[in-house]
């Protein structure tokens, strides 16, 4: 299993969870299997163009967001991928923090800490692509 996420998949998942929708529900709406949709989100599968359009429609994206998603879908085809391997430390850091926080702290504190990591990554970004 490749340790790669695509920007397209990450974006689809982000929009889905914002809508509080499960993979199962969205898969039914798109008439695909949950494993296929999951594969698209984690970068195992590539979404054909017509499915990209159905996803855009389902997520009720505005024109600008739709355009962005189409572009990301095309970039996925040219193998531009976010490597998780390169982010090993961050992933580990988050996992460790996650485990720790759930045994002692509260979720707000966790969110703050997480935002900090995301910002740090944002600054360091760019190099991974």
């Amino acid at each position: 299993m490749p340790k790669t996420l695509t920007q397209f998949g990450v974006e689809v998942r982000k929009k889905r969870v914002e809508r509080q929708e499960t993979l199962g529900d969205m898969a039914v709406a798109l008439k695909v299997s949950p494993s296929f949709l999951s594969g698209i989100e984690v970068g195992r599968k590539r979404a054909p163009a017509d499915l990209v359009e159905r996803i855009i429609e389902h997520l009720e994206l505005d024109m600008i967001e739709a355009q962005r998603l189409r572009r990301l879908a095309e970039e996925t085809g040219s193998e531009i991928r976010i490597s998780l391997a390169g982010k090993g430390n961050d992933a580990r850091e988050v996992a460790a923090m996650f485990a720790r926080r759930f045994s002692e702290g509260d979720i707000d504190e966790l969110k703050d800490a997480l935002t900090e990591i995301e910002q740090k990554r944002g600054r360091a970004g760019g190099t991974g692509f």
């Binding site: 494993s35 996650f98 759930f102």
Partner: protein
């Protein structure tokens, strides 16, 4: 009993505290724990790098789920995911079990059905025992068990677990003197 890897010891008390803490932080007061929603939707909102991957049945083979804590990743078989979504106790338990690995077992790739025939270790140092214990504590809070101390079927229905899991849970709590 299912045997897994030898890991740092964790007592039932510690795993219970962890489950209670998780419930309280998520502000879940009902007996039914929304394990599918937690893994599939909620964690993704707070942890964009947490990977929850539903894979085709033949990809994981006999394994119902595989968790790689260091990659912050849980993979589950599609039929198990759909079963959990439909509220089937055994599949919901599998998801809670994988969450137990994610929270407690960094440093090794773990699976639901892997056996380890190295020298025997005590249950509280066993990865599978810990994951099962965590799942049981998370899905069947003591308060719920107290509602129906003698009726595993009601407990199973209330918490979305199998009757077998409920029987085991009641037996353990009774053994601890926590049920009348």
């Amino acid at each position: 009993m299912e045997r897994g890897f030898r890991v740092a010891g964790k007592s039932r008390k510690e795993l219970r505290a962890q489950a209670i803490s998780l419930r309280s932080q998520l502000r879940i007061k009902e007996p039914w724990f929304p394990i599918v929603e937690l893994l599939d939707v909620y964690l993704g909102q707070y942890f964009p790098h947490f990977v929850f991957d539903v894979v085709e049945k033949d990809e994981l083979g006999p394994q119902h789920g595989v968790t790689t804590p260091d990659e912050f990743k849980i993979e589950v078989r599609e039929d198990v995911y759909l079963g959990a979504l439909a509220g089937h106790g055994r599949d919901r338990f599998t998801l809670a079990h994988e969450l137990g690995h994610l929270l407690n077992h960094r440093g090794v790739t773990l699976s639901r059905t892997r056996f380890d025939r190295r020298k025997p270790h005590p249950p509280f140092e066993d990865s599978e025992w810990q994951a099962n214990t965590f799942a049981s504590e998370l899905l069947m809070p003591i308060e719920a068990a107290r509602l129906y101390p003698g009726n595993e079927f009601r407990l199973a229905e209330l918490c979305g677990v199998s009757a077998d899991a409920a029987i085991t849970r009641l037996k353990i709590l009774r053994g601890e003197g926590l049920l009348k």
